[in-house]
């Protein structure tokens, strides 16, 4: 600015003739200078932006073309058609669900494809993954399957117990997205029981519909939302730190005392609560049978018209990442033939803290059975489990307790069971983990074994050890 003002002053000081002569020389110079001054500015803008954009687009197009060619080749290989007859839409390039799952029958799941932008710019309101009308091709399925299994060597000093190699549960976890808001889920489990024979069970069969963040409806057979553990860990030992579930959450067909499974309907979702992160679950179902020799889960027929219901509420506060605390209440009436009705109430409260390295689970419950006109039986139980991961090693400690009356009308064989378990989980690879666990359990008021009581057997504090290999596939 100063230079320009100085220039004006100087121009006024120069004689008129010189000015005119100089103007003739200066004009072309100025013109040329101005052109020179403008040119680089234009060049910079065009070169830097346009060239980069163009290069980027060329690279993208090249990559798209390459993927298209691969996709065409793949389609040709699948359909057995060769040559130019096979066409592919540009949007149907390789894309897959990041769900670590297997897709059956060579078809990527319906949701795994993107369609090209419609020419008229209109966007589909269908499934976001498809962007168009969905059709189930009968020649392929759209099932996502993951598998889990375990195998181990177990032994203990309890009377009659032998050391054994054992096949655990082999679990096929199958999901299928039926539409944007509906999915099917099942757990098909193959397991071996005490008689060494294989048995297959559909442990969970659920049709789920997600209406919004505040309401998800499910129907079928599911894990009852009693407390935390039962819905956090289903039929796979892979996800759990220890070799076994806590005693109070054992499955019904393995001597468990809770109605782990229920057949019915479930509603769940968030409760608008800001940073508190409240959620609810409400369930209505058949409940469990009161007949000790019948299938514990009433999959098809309920023994009475009374329905079991369960309500749970839990919080995941933003302020403490990994913390979940909740409460649930389950209510049913057990009515065995020729026996008084037994109203059953199960109250559970828990607080768990799960982070990538640290895990601390605490859960307590009370099971109340109140036969009409008789004594009321209340059975308290809890477990606490703590572990921390050090690289691929995760040592853990669990302590559990349950104290049931020997006259308890539903599970008289349980008595008092309490004691610690210590162990180590070692994640050898991303898909294989080894677990080593030692259990010490103090027992009292157990049912007789071979006609002898626990005291007579002098085996009231059995210990057991387990080596387990868990894997996913």
């Amino acid at each position: 600015m100063l230079a320009r003002r100085f220039l004006v002053i100087l121009i006024h000081a120069v004689p008129e003739k010189v000015k005119h002569a100089f103007a003739l020389i200066l004009f072309p110079l100025l013109l040329a200078g101005a052109l020179c001054a403008q040119q680089p500015e234009t060049t910079v803008t065009l070169d830097a932006r346009k060239l980069q954009e163009l290069l980027g687009r060329i690279a993208d197009l090249e990559q798209s073309q390459k993927q298209l060619l691969e996709r065409v080749a793949q389609l040709e290989a699948q359909s057995g058609v060769h040559g130019p007859a096979v066409t592919s839409t540009p949007g149907q390039v390789a894309s897959s669900s990041s769900s670590p799952s297997l897709v059956l029958a060579g078809g990527s799941p319906k949701g795994d494809q993107t369609k090209p932008a419609p020419g008229n710019g209109q966007q589909s309101d269908q499934s976001p993954m498809l962007g168009g009308t969905e059709h189930m091709d009968v020649s392929r399925t759209a099932l996502n399957i993951r598998g889990f299994g375990d195998f181990g060597f177990y032994g203990g000093n309890q009377n009659g117990q032998t050391s054994s190699f054992s096949i655990g549960q082999t679990n096929l976890f199958i999901t299928s997205d039926l539409s944007e808001r509906v999915r099917f889920l099942t757990e098909l489990v193959f397991e071996v029981h005490q008689n060494n024979s294989f048995q297959s069970d559909l442990e969970r069969v659920l049709l789920e519909g997600s209406l919004n963040d505040y309401l998800k409806l499910s129907g079928g057979r599911y894990h009852t939302a009693i407390g935390y553990y039962n819905t956090a860990y289903h039929h796979s030992t892979w996800f759990q730190t220890a070799t076994e579930r806590p005693y109070i959450f054992e499955y019904e067909d393995e001597g468990g005392i809770l109605p782990i499974h229920m057949v019915g309907v479930q509603a769940s979702g968030q409760i608008p609560s800001g940073k508190l992160g409240l959620h609810y679950i409400a369930e209505v179902g058949n409940g469990r049978t009161s007949n000790p020799i019948a299938e514990p889960v009433q999959n098809y027929v309920d023994e009475n018209g009374h329905k079991a219901f369960n309500a749970a509420i839990f919080a995941r506060p933003d302020a403490v990442p990994g913390l979940q605390t909740g409460f649930s209440i389950y209510r049913d009436v057990l009515s065995a033939p020729d026996s008084p009705k037994i109203p059953e109430t199960i109250i559970d409260a828990y607080a768990v803290l799960i982070r990538s390295r640290f895990e601390w689970l605490n859960e307590a419950l009370m099971i109340r059975h109140a036969p009409a006109g008789q004594h009321v039986y209340e059975t308290p139980a809890f477990y606490s489990q703590i572990s921390e991961r050090f690289g691929i090693y995760r040592p853990y400690l669990r302590y559990q307790y349950i104290n049931a009356s020997s006259h308890e009308p539903v599970f008289p064989q349980v008595g008092l069971r309490t004691g610690p378990s210590v162990g180590m989980r070692f994640d050898a690879t991303e898909s294989v983990a080894f677990k080593l666990q030692y259990d010490y359990t103090f027992l009292r008021r157990q049912g007789p074994i071979d006609g002898k009581s626990c005291v007579q057997l002098s085996m009231c504090a059995p210990s057991a050890a387990a080596v387990q290999v868990d894997f996913k596939f």
Partner: protein
């Protein structure tokens, strides 16, 4: 001073004055280049253009990617697009939003599907171009791109009120972290 002397001074001054815009251009050029460089390192969060959302807090963004929030305010189910394993943008998202490494992310996803916390897993897409197409076609789509890869087919949303070109924008790709979080 003679007339010729004045003329020489005049020419010098003219040359200097003409040179001034060149200096300004010279200063502007690296500045523009820096901006382009920053854009290529900034991670833009993109949604479908029909999505009414313009701004998300970082906490909300995290809830969306973690699967704690599954629906937009307009009712559409949220469909997350992830780039393939190993790409710098994906590593940045895992590090900054998920706060997990690749293994922990896979485990989280599988566990979430198993428990029912994650209704539908994110889609893994092969390139930024495919991410753009996916988000363009999916009314509930959300994905991430280098800011330099964004075009008009998708909508960039503000995170905590900031766009990728703004100072203090927190989603930055750290190329030096290559491989460390795998």
């Amino acid at each position: 001073m003679s007339a010729s002397g004045r003329a020489v001074i005049l020419i010098i001054i003219i040359v200097i004055s003409l040179a001034l815009p060149r200096d300004q251009i010279a200063q502007a050029a690296p500045s523009t280049a820096d901006a382009r460089g920053n854009l290529s390192q900034s991670l833009a969060i993109v949604v479908n253009r029909s999505n009414p959302i313009d701004n998300l807090s970082f906490a909300e963004l995290r809830k969306i990617f973690l699967g704690d929030r599954n629906h937009w305010s307009n009712g559409h189910r949220i469909a997350i697009a992830m780039l393939e394993y190993g790409q710098p943008e994906r590593r940045a998202v895992l590090r900054l939003i998920y706060r997990m490494d690749e293994k922990a992310y896979q485990d989280y996803l599988l566990r979430g599907m198993f428990r029912g916390d994650v209704f539908v897993a994110p889609k893994t897409l092969t390139s930024p171009t495919i991410v753009r197409k996916f988000v363009f076609n999916a009314p509930g789509g959300i994905g991430y791109l280098r800011a330099s890869d964004v075009d008009e087919s998708v909508k960039v949303i503000r995170i905590d009120g900031l766009l990728p070109e703004d100072k203090g924008y927190r989603l930055q790709i750290d190329e030096s972290s290559k491989g460390t979080d795998d």
